[in-house]
Subunit: 459 residues, 2 copies
């Protein structure tokens, strides 16, 4: 039956591109609170497509932008249930002059579909809907039960998602979450992402003199908050780029031998990576391979500095106040609350009594890691290999997807991340694109995933 | 004869206040390039007053705002010639709502004259002109030759002064420069300032990734310019607040035993000082007394920090670029060019090859120190003691007066700084004031100075 489904998909390639274009024309930028009409239009468009695909869907209120929730209904047998998570909202378009074609005027150039949301996440999300449709049109039913939760607030930090999932945990119950919102490893190599880093984000503020004061009249007699801030930040790392916060590394998991073997097989081009970022040299805990540092080691980065005079030319002040945004990417099994507290304690201990300290916490998200040898993961590997005709590699992601540990906590389900876009597809930037061959391979993969999951039988 | 001059001064106290008010009504803010009318009015007002005082004056072009130059002409005998330096321009007024009376509507409250320029420098400058007038009206001539150079660009960094003095070095030739543009030690204690710190001002910029980049995708693999900047700044000082730049302290002069004795006698209230600046505690090379650190030790202060994201909330970037304004107050006999080069070399040595460094230099001004036991200084001490009826203390100034070493270099003359305003007279701030008793005591002091200088005879 899967052969017929794939044939159906191949026969409808052009039609799929047309539907993708329709979806991309909707200006569903979620950061704009006045964008209600386009946001509701996008949610409704997803609902309508689900109806065409033969699956029951509804638009549900979240307190913010609505969620689209769907369920194909029970199937005979004991096959696992999958819950596809995606989002219909997109990033703001930024500087329009940098776009070669309008962000909401989908344009095909060199086999790529250019538009805001083509990769993140409309194009990737659509693969799963179109696979459902292909199954229904061909076999008249799905081989596994497929549910969907498509939110409209991913690009604004999903403020209402955890309460929503908690409230509808029965409705959303599943064995695996499936997400297509990550990337391939490179143009030639499809990938399954099995881990992400967590995040602890802080703002440190130091205050010294009551007002900005004269560096001649007072210099040498009072602490300068900017100098102290430099001491504190410098003190958070040692000369080997290891973070000095007591206990920081206590819970850091080493890569397993199997992971390490997979990682060493990856065709990683360090030179190309350095060129793409544009720094004069790579850095970090340089005794470790770059991909290990990127995916499996915690970091501490200053995201911003402010204080005193930053205009043109000189101003001879001792600033009254300064600050730094400092964030840490954390890895399994570091706990964000423990790290948050350890950070505060370390910064407090390093701050002398000559200045006043305050610390704010803006984010603490858990890291995520799931087994790469689960039955569902095996099915996903087979599906990607069948869909792309190349065996996928296992990768981790240096960034953070706060919802993954929440899916595990609330629904008891691990997430399988099958990414179909390129790593340099201009996600969040101008000229975002999705390679059309990858779009079609994604649809095939999503179709194969249902087939391979159905073969698993009871857990 | 000096008794009659002082009696004349005492008899004209109210008239002097009227003339001061007239001067203060002129809105001679030099930062405003469109303020030509008021600037020329102020220069002309000074010229006219000199004529009334019986001294030949002219307004001379400098390329910027004009200078008023005057010369009382040769006197019989070998008494030294003094050159009074001052400025008729004033600081901008800032936030008008903070002024209790208009900055250019002179108002007397509690024996103080409130107006922009009352202390800095119109009121202080005027003492010397009125002393000339008192001598001429009483004795028909001055006991010493007095010259004046009154500039209109002090508040904008005197960009044309050094070329002007160089060009007119013969015309301005003198034995001592006299300046009343500093402060008393406190309300009760008049002071002569005999040293100032110099200044070397730098801007460090560090560049890492080509653009602000994702701290998840790249964190741990490239250097973060903000973290490196913190390392560099922190590395410029040790745990005892000593500057680590190689050779930095090589030329630092210790206080002489005589200076140290004078300093220890000063009625310095550390508690009040700390309260006035508003820091939680004093800091610096705390093995040394506060006044030593303030006047006779070099400093290194960050005047501003910038880089990355400094808005509300979190943004998870590795900044492409960041920077710091860093300035050093230097002391005798440190050389600003040597210190400038040593700073650059130290920063270069501390910057790793993982970021790109650039350094700009915005200022390098020499420190200044003159003997406190010269014949002219002795005359000044006697004059202040006679004028204020309290013996003055010798103090230094933590700030920088770049012109002092230039007067010494070009004219071969040391500067005697007799300050008549209070240390907290809101110089450059709202509600600037001059205590009228100090104004009158200043006029007496200026009159006594001519008398005591005349007694010196040939150098």
């Amino acid at each position: 039956m899967i052969d017929q489904v794939v044939s159906y998909v191949e026969a409808h390639r052009e039609e799929y591109v047309g539907r993708l274009s329709d979806f991309l024309r909707i200006e569903s930028v979620s950061t704009d609170r006045g964008n209600s009409q386009e946001m509701r239009r996008a949610a409704q468009w997803v609902c309508n497509l689900m109806a065409e695909a033969g699956i029951q869907a509804e638009t549900m209120d979240t307190g913010g932008w609505p969620c689209v929730v769907a369920d194909s209904g029970p199937v005979a047998g004991d096959a696992p249930t999958i819950l596809v998570y995606g989002h219909y909202d997109v990033q703001p378009v930024g500087d329009l002059s940098l776009w070669e074609s309008g962000p909401f005027e989908p344009a095909i150039r060199g086999g790529r579909m250019y538009a805001r949301g083509s990769a993140d996440d409309k194009g990737q999300l659509l693969t799963h809907l179109l696979a459902v449709e292909a199954w229904n049109r061909t076999a008249g039913k799905l081989p596994v039960r497929v549910k969907f939760i498509i939110e409209g607030e991913e690009e604004v930090g999903s403020p209402n998602l955890v309460p929503f999932i908690t409230r509808y945990r029965e409705k959303l119950a599943c064995d695996y979450v499936v997400i297509s919102d990550t990337t391939k490893f490179d143009g030639d190599t499809p990938a399954i992402t099995y881990g992400t880093r967590g995040l602890v984000y802080k703002e440190i503020t130091l205050t010294g003199p009551r007002n900005d004061t004269h560096s001649g009249s007072f210099g040498g007699t009072v602490a300068n908050p900017c100098n102290v801030l430099a001491d504190v930040i410098a003190g958070l790392k040692d000369a080997d780029n290891r973070i000095t916060i007591p206990g920081f590394y206590d819970r850091v998991l080493e890569l397993s031998p199997a992971e390490r073997r997979e990682l060493e097989k990856l065709p990683f081009d360090e030179r190309a990576y350095l060129t793409s970022v544009g720094s004069p040299a790579l850095d970090g805990e340089t005794a470790l391979p770059t991909l290990v540092r990127r995916w499996a080691r915690p970091t501490l980065d200053v995201n911003g500095l402010f204080g005193g005079f930053s205009g043109e030319g000189p101003s001879t002040i001792i600033p009254a106040r300064c600050g730094a945004k400092v964030s840490m990417r954390i890895v399994p099994d570091q706990d964000p609350h423990e790290i948050s507290q350890a950070f505060d304690k370390a910064v407090q201990a390093m701050t002398p009594p000559t200045v006043r300290l305050s610390i704010k916490t803006f984010a603490d998200a858990r890291p995520y890691l799931c087994p790469i040898d689960s039955r569902g993961m095996n099915a996903a590997v087979q599906a990607v290999e069948a869909g792309f005709r190349i065996r996928p590699v296992f990768i981790r992601e240096g960034g953070t997807l706060p919802i993954l540990p929440e899916f595990r906590r609330i629904l008891g389900a691990d997430s399988i991340m099958m990414g179909f876009c390129l790593p340099d597809c201009n996600l969040h930037g101008p000229n975002e694109f999705l390679v059309l061959e990858d779009f079609w391979a994604g649809i095939r993969t999503a179709a194969f995933l249902q087939d391979r999951m159905a073969d698993l039988g009871p857990a």
